[in-house]
Amino acid sequence: MIETFFNIGILAQAWPIILAGLGNTLLLSLLVVPLGLGGGMLLALLSTLRNPWIRWPLIAWVDFFRAFPPLVLLIFLYAGLPFAGLELGGFTCVGIAFFLNTGAYYGEVLRAGIESVAQGQVEAARSTGLSRGQALVWVVLPQAVRAVMPDLLSNTLEVVKLTSLASVVALPELLFQARQAQSLTYNPTPIVAAAVVYFLLLWPVVRLLSRLENRAIAGRG
């Protein structure tokens, strides 16, 4: 069993490939997390406008992309659009899919944060002479982001994990590289190694989150 799943010789052989994959996973995360956050912030800010012509389409948009499994969205962009003459390439497809999917999730989190800030805060800020926009940026948003920090972090953890989907459209991130190495060596050690790398990378975040969440739920008892 050690020979099969933790083969040192094969690990040594596959290590550079896996390391390259880790680098790409980190780069990809650095790209898609801000993309999703930006999309989410846009949605959350739009939802502060009370106009029903904006509000309802916005809810529909968010629910649409929350109901759509991200892999389905990715495959649709990657394998469907070329039939319409639109060859976007794996990288762009991943970017768009993450913008739409994780943007919807970040948007929900940020909206809840903004709604948690008491209306009196806005009124007080406005009464000091701040404009609507200034009150939003300097008074509401800092408190909103702070209130939903655990949810933002938890969402970000999911986004980083989700980058493994990019392997399906042949982007050479961690999982893809590990599978390449596995098919070259006929041995599952590279996949085990990739799993260990994921775990070591994300374990600190999970620990932190579990503490924050316990505190949040326990506080309601």
Binding site: D63, F68, I191, S210, R220, G221
Partner: protein, 226 residues
């Protein structure tokens, strides 16, 4: 032929859709079966772990926390690939369906254990003491006093997490499960037309939009009044 007609012809091709419609419906049933199995095993295992943890055996609890952390940190697709491509080296050959089912159940188990556990610890200690003082045993207190209160707190986060994880059934297509996405993808390569993908996307929306709406409703219905 205008652009619009070409677009319709490509993505909403009636002939292709009629031809592959039954396949997508087959896939829909596989998705539903897979999702239902994951929800049942994942939640039962998660609750069992949380109850085991409430017994307070230190070494056991370390084990539980480690397992929970592991399956919260690993991407589901990595677990699926590991089981599907790794286990055959031990002469255990799980099908794609079993690999996906086991993987997503483990993930849901981990997340739900955390939520159940947080719910259990949220019930005030005085509740335990009061129940025990009336002569209820440990098990009875847990079952009749603590659990009902704990479950109420956990319902909104649990619902949202369960929905998010059941959407992961689409990952099964990577290991040849003939669920919606798998059926749609093979239909696309057979017909050389993306209309089956449109159908598949519609099938997901039909399946999950009510579920997402239900999650929204649960969130407001069970919202904790502060």
């Amino acid at each position: 032929m205008g652009n619009w007609d070409r677009f319709i012809e490509t993505f909403f091709n009636a002939k292709v859709m009629a031809r592959y419609w039954p396949d997508i419906v087959d896939g829909l049933w596989v998705t539903i079966g897979l999702a239902a199995s994951v929800v049942v095993t994942g939640l039962v295992a998660g609750l069992a772990l949380a109850l085991l943890r409430s017994l307070g055996w230190r070494v056991v609890n370390w084990g539980i926390v480690l397992v929970v952390d592991l399956f919260r940190a690993l991407p589901p697709l990595v677990i699926i690939v590991l089981i599907y491509f790794g286990l055959p080296s031990l002469d255990i050959v799980p099908s794609g369906f079993v690999s996906t089912w086991v993987s997503l159940s483990l993930v849901l188990m981990a997340f739900s254990e955390e939520i159940f556990w947080a719910g259990l610890t949220a019930v005030a200690k005085g509740q335990w003491e009061a129940a025990r003082s009336t002569g209820l045993g440990f098990g009875q207190t847990l079952l009749w006093v603590v659990l009902p209160q704990a479950l109420r707190i956990t319902i909104p986060p649990l619902t949202n997490r369960t929905i998010a994880i059941t959407k992961g059934t689409a990952l099964g297509s990577v290991v040849a499960v003939t669920e919606i996405l798998g059926q749609a993808s093979s239909a696309v390569s057979n017909s050389y037309n993306p209309s089956p993908l449109t159908l598949g996307a519609a099938a997901y929306l039909v399946l999950f939009i009510p579920v997402v709406a239900f999650g929204r409703w649960v969130e407001t219905r069970f919202a904790w009044r502060r």
